[in-house]
Symmetry: C2
Subunit: 379 residues, 2 copies
DNA sequence: CTGTTAGCGCCTTCAT
DNA sequence: ATGAAGGCGCTAACAG
């Protein structure tokens, strides 16, 4: 295997292939590569026909319906027939065609989930929860991210409904009119998870961003901090951020404190962003003694910056975060934050969909999974 | 809105709902909640019939095929007919049924991806890359995680093939015999992404774990470290970890250094785990002057532990990580690591599948996307 | 350019 | 407990 050291730039050393580079393999082992070439665009059966239910039926000398029943309502068959059929299925390697099954039964076993960003670990917890419950029920998850765009969400909802998903989990709680219309027309159950909205399209499973932000602010005040800064993501197209900001303001009002614009910043997500926000705020409002970072990894970025500048946390400035990311309990000092039931939100959302699909009433239609304040050394 | 402070334990303050608690909403706003109850198990059309292509055809006074063409091969229709049909589609709110389309055309627009863990941010990059490219091509992503289990992977492959996915992206490069058989029988294109395997089932898009680990070890030696420790995940059921360990050993051999068991640890993933591994290793082999953490977030955990103990990095011990997680460039000191093209792997995998589905040859069948060594302050 | 016919693979309904 | 007929909503193939 040839090694190629291509460049050393900015501390980066490129190796083996690198962007655009393709290392062809000429070894004997590689030439053994098993490759199937057949199949035109997306063809399911490239060369040989796929095994169908009727093939199983013939091989087992029963009718097609008996095979169908062996697979879907095994208890309706006699023990012997069932065994015969299932053995045959295994023997000839039959894999049911859910596409055909869905079409014939007007039933689907696929649920769609749309999150703002697949890469954000917050959402991946809710995805995981959802996927787990669905799989337990023999269903599958169709996933996509909207990139925080309403229009993209609409397009995805359209695509998912075209795919005839039997339910939808949406993180966003704001939708385009057409998206709402599509959902209504499809008549499928929907769960919104991003915030505990007052009037969900169908069902909501979440916590209250407003309450979470408010309580954290009150908690900080309770710890004796007099001048509490607040940093969040842009509220413009983000209902969650907006609710958090409202919660912060509500807390100030409850405390009888005045709003101070110098103590509020809206920023982009990311570690760097959190660092800048902290530094900026401390310049503009030197009296600030605690900052509540109500978004993403902002708090972590701020803490790292404090380490770099040798600012003592919490003595010089206290830092609180929003989500309980894994690292928050490992930093020095450990970070105070909210613990939000992301995984559970995913699980309960899927469960709510399943319930609804079984025609069971889902109460309440708004499920508040709450939150915790995790007090650690940074405050 | 009532506030409930339920408990204060271990620094945790539970609020609003909490585990198992459900806050029912009795406000007027909540009672306005729009709810659709209809639909038996997974029914796509709960109450009213969904609009079908034939309905559009009747409304536009054309044949069903004309509607089909307006949607799928618009260029084959006259401008007027096309406009008429598409307007009608919009007017009556028709959403194509891809399920039926797939069945009739023996074509699918869904690709399946199986990763070891949805929550792991490493995989989410590859998921994102894949999802983006697919969406650009009008396709969807069916996602699931195997929990690092071969058997689970097999079950998922079965389920995905039942779903008639038109292609599969697998992170694992080791599969059960039945999984391989299922894939072969399905005759769909497959990409394996976890390692640059010698003989992929079909195609491989990745980097070489062996080379990456080897080069990093050589790089550390080049920086003057004499006693380089190696920490990775359990190699037992993890080919990637095994390859990395091999790479480390290969580097030692190339350097003419002897293997020292005290300098090698296999551990679980996680920050805590990395911290322990470092402490253990430094006790058992006090001469160690650099540790290469070849997995997950181990290096970060170790660094935090070093901060806590006031061990200078890299003076007391140098630390290098594997993946270039976002935080690595923000810690104090910043962490040296490998930069692996996770996103690009996802993108290229999807592209390879699309190519294969268009019947274009995919060369090479093993695509090496390489890696970079990012040198920072920790070494 | 547009329409007609015959299924895709399976499930629903009704019969035996 | 098992089977036969018809159709789910759409597209391929062929016709005009």
């Amino acid at each position: 295997m040839k090694k190629r050291v291509a460049a050393v730039e900015d501390g980066k050393i490129r190796l083996a292939g690198g962007p655009g580079g393709e290392v062809k393999t000429a070894s004997k082992a590689a030439s053994k590569t098993v490759r199937k070439t057949g199949g035109s665009v997306g063809k399911t059966r490239p060369g040989g026909q796929a095994v169908r239910m009727i093939d199983v039926a013939k091989a087992a000398n029963v009718s097609l319906m008996t095979v169908s029943r062996a697979l879907n309502e095994p208890e309706r068959l006699s023990k012997e027939t069932r065994k015969l059929v299932l053995d045959t299925v295994r023997r000839i390697g039959y894999v049911p065609n859910h596409i055909a099954s869905n079409l014939a039964s007007a039933r689907s076993n696929v649920v769609g989930q749309i999150v703002p960003s697949i890469q954000n670990s917050l959402y991946s917890h809710s995805i995981k929860g959802c996927a787990d419950v669905l799989r337990g029920a023999g269903m599958q998850l169709l996933l996509a991210d909207s990139g925080y765009s309403l229009e993209e969400e609409e397009a995805l909802i359209d695509a998912f409904i075209a795919q005839r998903v039997c339910g939808l989990v949406l993180h966003d709680t704001v939708h385009t009119p057409r998206a709402v219309q599509l959902i209504r027309a499809a008549g499928i159950p929907i769960v919104e998870t991003g915030d505990l909205v007052r009037a969900p399209l169908d069902m909501a499973v979440s916590y209250s961003n407003f309450n979470a932000a408010k309580e954290m602010t009150l908690y900080l005040a309770g710890r004796g901090y007099k001048s509490i800064g607040f940093v969040c993501l842009a509220t413009r197209n983000n209902m969650r951020a907006r609710e958090r900001l409202k919660g912060y303001h509500a807390a100030l009002a409850a405390l009888g404190r005045e709003r101070n614009p110098a103590l509020v910043r809206e920023v982009e997500g990311g570690l760097t962003s959190g660092a800048h926000a902290m530094v900026d705020m401390m310049q503009r409002a030197p009296e600030v003694d605690a900052i509540f970072f109500a978004g993403d990894v902002l708090a972590v970025g701020a803490l790292f910056e404090a380490q770099r500048r040798n600012w003592k946390v919490p003595e010089r400035v206290a830092i609180a975060g929003f989500d309980d990311l894994d690292i928050l309990r490992h930093t020095v000092p450990r970070l105070t934050c909210l613990n939000l039931p992301r995984l559970e939100i995913g699980r309960r959302s899927a469960e709510a969909l399943l319930q609804r699909m079984r025609n069971e009433p889902v109460e309440p239609a708004r499920l508040d999974l709450g939150f915790e304040i995790i007090q650690r050394e940074s405050t």
